[in-house]
Each structure stands twice: as C-alpha cells, then as structure tokens.
Amino acid sequence: MSHESTPTLYGLMAEFDTAEGLIHATEQARLAGYRAMDAYSPLPIEELSEALDLPKTRLPKAVFIGGLVGCLGGFLLETWASTIAYPMNIGGRPLFSWPQFIPVTFETTVLGAALTCFFGMWGSNKLPQPYHPVFNVPEFARASTDRFFLCIEAADPRFDREATARFLQDLHPLGVSEVAP
C-alpha cells in the first residue's frame, strides 16, 4: 500500500491557470484510474462534476421532505390550536376553518424547505470545517481568485508519490506541490 510508503502526505496538487486545463487534467486523472481526488476552482464549473463523475445530489429530495414537514407541521399546529387547545366560538362559525389556515401553512412549507436546503447543503459539504490539508500549499491562496487546482489524494490505491507526480507533470500544470496532511 502506498499509505505505508508515504505516511506524511495528504496528496499531490497540480496548479492550472485555466478552467480548461483543470477540466482536461481531471478527465485524464479519471481515465488513469484515480478516484480519490478533488478539483478546486474559484467559480462553479459544471464540467468538473462530469469529469469527477459526481453522483446526483440528494438535496432536492431532502428539500421536498423538509417542505412537506413544514407544511404538515404548520397545518396541524393551526388545526390543533384552533380546534382543541383554544377553541373559540365566534358566532357559531366552524372551528376547523381550514381555508384560513392556508397562508400560514404556505409560509411554514417555505420555511421548512429553505432551512433543510441551507443546513442540508452545508452539512453534506461537511462545512464549517476549520482545517483542511489543501490550505498547507501556499499557492492554494489563489484558488479563491483565479487559479485552478487538482489534488490527487494519497488515499487513492493507485497513488504513488513519484508516478503520480510524473503523471501530473505531464498534464502541463504551472506546478505540482506536495500537500502535507
């Protein structure tokens, strides 16, 4: 296992100055059989999701369920409060006057969906995360401005310090750096 030979490395990181360079490199790395890797860019690039073969996110389903919980929760709360907990007889009008419960039900649906979306996205991205090895590379500071990075992680079974470095060099990066864990 490469793990034993390189215990002090998180991975190898190649720096590119264009999005095309990064997309190309990611595709090549995937063709070469690497799986434990990630691409970093200062703006969202849809092609990277394809190049990395990322699975479809389950976020929309979670948001739907969140909205459903908000919807039922709001409606049941209103029904319970108005008919059981605090029934008020106003001129003999029905207690379960459901059409008047709809506006609040709508708002709680939206609230449930939005909260699920927000916390679901940050949670599944495992953020906030105070420390990550990629920040050990000084050049990585430009990943949030205009540089593009591909990091092949040491956890990949095909990872080999020399061979992977050579592979990355062949992709014409601006440079290849070792990433301390």
Binding site: P103, T145, D146
Partner: protein, 473 residues
C-alpha cells in the same frame, strides 16, 4: 448562477440587421477587459483597503445621527406609550402600518433580483444582487420595528404573535391576516438571510485569502466556514442556490399578498378589494427597484463601480420600474372605476373623499408621480440621465409612501358612521421614528459596503469573458 459555458447573447450571431443594431446599442453587463483577477481585485479592494473614502464618513455620520434619533424615539415610546404618536380612533393604524408596508415593499426588489431573475437567467442581476439582498434584510428589519413597537409593550406581545406553549394556555388567532403577516414576514426575513449568507460564503473565502491583517483573516476565515472551492462543494452549492431561488420565488410574491390581506380581508371601503394582492406586489417591486436605483447610483460613482453596474443595469431597472409602475397605475384606475361602477355609496364616497377630501393633495401627488411622472421612463434620454434618474427614483419612493398613506388614512378617517369621523395628524414623534428607521437602514447599509463585498465576486467571475470555456479535446 450563470453557467460558465453559456455564451453572452452578444456573442451569438444576430438574426437580422435590426436585431444586430439593437444589440450594438445595448451596453454590456460588465465593462470589457475584466478578468477573474481584476474583478476580484476591484471588489475586494473596497473591503480590504485601509483607506475609507471621506464620502463614506459623511454619509455614515448622517445615518448614525438618524439612528440615534431612533434610539431616543423608542426610549420615549417605551416610557410614555404610543400616545406620543398621532394615532387616534378611528385612525388606529397610521404611520406604523404605512411605514411597515413601505419598508417591506422596498425589500421585495432584493429577492426578486436574487431569485426570480436567477431563474430567468438574467445575467445582469449578478452585479446588483448582493447589495439588493442586503437592502432587503435591512428593510425587513426596519419594517418589523413598526408593528412590534405599535404594540406598545412588545415584550408582552410575544404570546399572541408566535405560537408557543405559554402559562396562560393561549394560542394565536390563526384566522387573522395579522398572524399571517407575522409568519410571512418572519419567514421572508429568515429565508432572505439564509440566501444572502449562502451567497457570501465563497466571497468570504476570497477575502480570507487576500486579507493582510491577521484579525481580518480570522474574521473572514470564520465566516467562510472553511470554503475551499472544491468541485464536490460547488456541485451541491449550485443545486442549493437554485433550490433556494425556487423556494424564494413564490415566497416573495406571497409576502406582499399577505400584507395586502391585512386590508383586503377587512370590510372597510377602500380596503375590501380583490385587486389588492397583485397591486401590492407590483407596487412593492416598483418601490424596491426605485430604492435599488437610489442606492446603486451613488455607490457606483463613489466606488468607481460603473464597470460592474453598467448603463445596462440602469436601463433594465428603469424598465422594470416602468412596467410595475404601470401595473400600479392600473390599480389606481381600477379602484376608482369600481368605486363608481359598484354603485355602493360608501365606496363611492371613499373615492370622492380621496380625490376632494382633506388628504386630496396626497392623492393627486401620488397620481402625479406613480401614474404620470413614470411615463418619462419611456424615453431613452431619460434612462441615460443618471442624475435625473436618481431624483426620479427618490420621488418614486415618496410616491409609494404617499400611496400607503392615502390607502390607510383616507379609508380609516371616514368610514361608515359620520359620528366616528376624525382627522389624523402625525406628531413629531411619528416623523422621528420614520426618520430613525431610515437612519437604521442607512447605517447598516454603510457598514455593509465597508465591511462586506457589495457585489458578488464569484458570480461576477462567471460573467467575465475568461469564464467562457473553449471547447477542448
């Protein structure tokens, strides 16, 4: 966000000569020559620089003074009660609800720009969405103060505003539009804040990486949540952003509809009208864009942002104001027509009283602004005149405030029984509180443009020519 693969429609071959000529006349959404780096530099520089423009200090000092006026007014109010205001019977809802509706309406443009224009793939939204969203949050904060303080003792009001198990065993009246309002506005505030924060995170990472001072690095670093631009993160981020936009779209339309129910569900002449929800929503967007314009014009000139907020943005905002303003004008016409056509004597009197009664000057001023003056927006020469547009956008805000004044005060002060008629006059404390919330709004806005990126940096990157991928392989 704009898809980086998507070509700006200027790049597409024009179908015919007239279309090509039109495109040549349309300014770009970003000045030519910008790169990822230049966009990042120019926007983050405003925040990271040690030098603050003198105009900022003057503006902030003025806003802060008004904010102190708000403090004094609220203190006075809490000590003496709402008797310091001019509210009376029958005009129990006066400045509180006028200002509430005015502020909430202003907030609507932010969500419209960030959510609805995103779904419609309007690239020009990109440079104005961040500060328009900030404007929404601050406007909602100002709006919420009025109904809360109108209760006189807000800390005692919680149990009938929010459903929670309390020691009295009481629950809110869910059949009341006022409770719908509580839910609509608090949901709106929450969702707008989530949306805004989500958009800020990648930019916080940029500021973290570019800040030189240790303190700034720490603060921006904490706010960036450890964002590193990972493709896996962007993948979910983009989906979440789109979902939040989809969720916010019906929300923004619902909020002012619910606000209009406060009036439309009652039986008062002048309020009990089915036109209210669409008419209110259009009015909200109209006044909101006017406020975005009021803020954008000085912002772009003080900070030299005219490469990002171009004439294209100014033109488009003017056109949105023209359309929504015309819908509002149709609402006025519709109200007047039905008060005559319905043949109801109370409705008819209400309209005559608006046009000829003690508040007629306000009615005719709002017609002059919202129905007549906005016709100027048809002219390209007006849309090109920045100074004039600034004045007109301020006037639109005045017009929309007058509209709410007329709807609320003229309908209340003369209802069915002449014995309960009265005249409403605001006191100096009414004006102090209104001016004070403007101080709160402006203070927050000045702090925002100094300490946070007023334009979404990473979204601006997506509309630079660099982001258009050349096909490879």
């Amino acid at each position: 966000m704009a898809d980086p693969m998507q070509h700006s429609h200027h790049a597409a071959p024009a179908g015919d000569g007239a279309l090509a000529a039109l495109r040549a006349r349309t300014p770009e959404v970003i000045a030519p020559g910008h790169t990822f780096e230049s966009v990042t530099d120019s926007i983050s520089h405003i925040v990271l620089t040690k030098r603050t423009p003198i105009g900022w200090f003057i503006g902030f000092a003025f806003a802060f003074l008004l904010l102190m006026l708000l403090n004094v007014t609220v203190a006075k109010l809490l000590m003496e009660g709402i008797g310091i205001w001019g509210n009376n019977v029958p005009v129990g809802w006066a400045f509180d609800i006028i200002n509430f509706v005015w502020w909430i309406g202003i907030g609507h443009a932010g969500t419209l720009i960030s959510a609805i224009l995103l779904l419609f793939r309007q690239q020009w939204r990109t440079s104005i969405n961040r500060f328009a969203e900030a404007m929404t949050l601050f406007a909602v904060a100002c709006a919420a103060m009025f109904p809360l303080l109108h209760t006189g003792r807000p800390w005692l009001a919680v149990y009938w505003l929010f459903p929670y198990p309390n020691s009295m065993g009481l629950w809110p009246q869910f059949r009341s539009p006022l409770i719908w309002d509580v839910f609509a506005v608090s949901t709106y505030g929450t969702v707008s804040a989530l949306f805004w924060f989500t958009g800020l995170v990648p930019d916080m990472a940029t500021l973290r990486d570019r800040a030189e001072s240790k303190v700034a690095k720490k603060i921006f670093g904490a706010a960036a949540l450890g964002w590193r631009g990972s493709a896996r993160h962007w993948h979910r981020y983009e989906m979440a952003y789109l979902l939040l936009a989809g969720i916010s779209t019906p929300l923004v339309l619902s909020v002012h509809s619910v606000v209009s129910f406060d009036f439309a569900v009652s039986v008062l002449p002048g309020w009990h009208a089915t036109i209210f929800p669409p008419y209110f929503v259009a009015g909200a967007i109209y006044s909101g864009f006017a406020m975005v314009m009021t803020l954008a014009i000085p912002l772009r000139s003080v900070y030299g942002l005219d490469g990002f907020i171009t004439m294209r943005h100014i033109h488009n905002m003017t056109k949105v104001m023209l359309v929504t303003g015309m819908i509002v004008a149709y609402g006025y016409f519709n109200e007047a027509f039905f008060s005559w056509y319905a043949g109801n004597e109370y409705e008819g009197y209400m309209m005559l009283n608006r046009m000829e009664g003690p508040y007629a000057v306000f009615y005719w001023s709002l017609i002059a602004i919202n129905a007549v003056m906005i016709q100027l927006f048809w002219f390209r020469s007006v849309r090109d005149n920045i100074a004039l547009l600034f004045v007109l956008s301020l006037l639109v805000n005045v017009g929309m405030w007058l509209e709410r004044f007329v709807i609320i005060v003229t309908s209340l002060h003369r209802d069915f029984l002449p014995s309960s008629w009265d005249i409403y006059m605001p006191t100096r404390w009414d004006f102090a509180m209104f001016a004070g919330t403007m101080g709160l709004f402006l203070s927050l806005f000045f702090l925002f443009i100094r300490f946070l990126p007023a334009i979404a940096i990473f979204e601006m990157r997506t509309i630079t020519p660099e982001a258009k991928l050349k096909h490879h392989g």
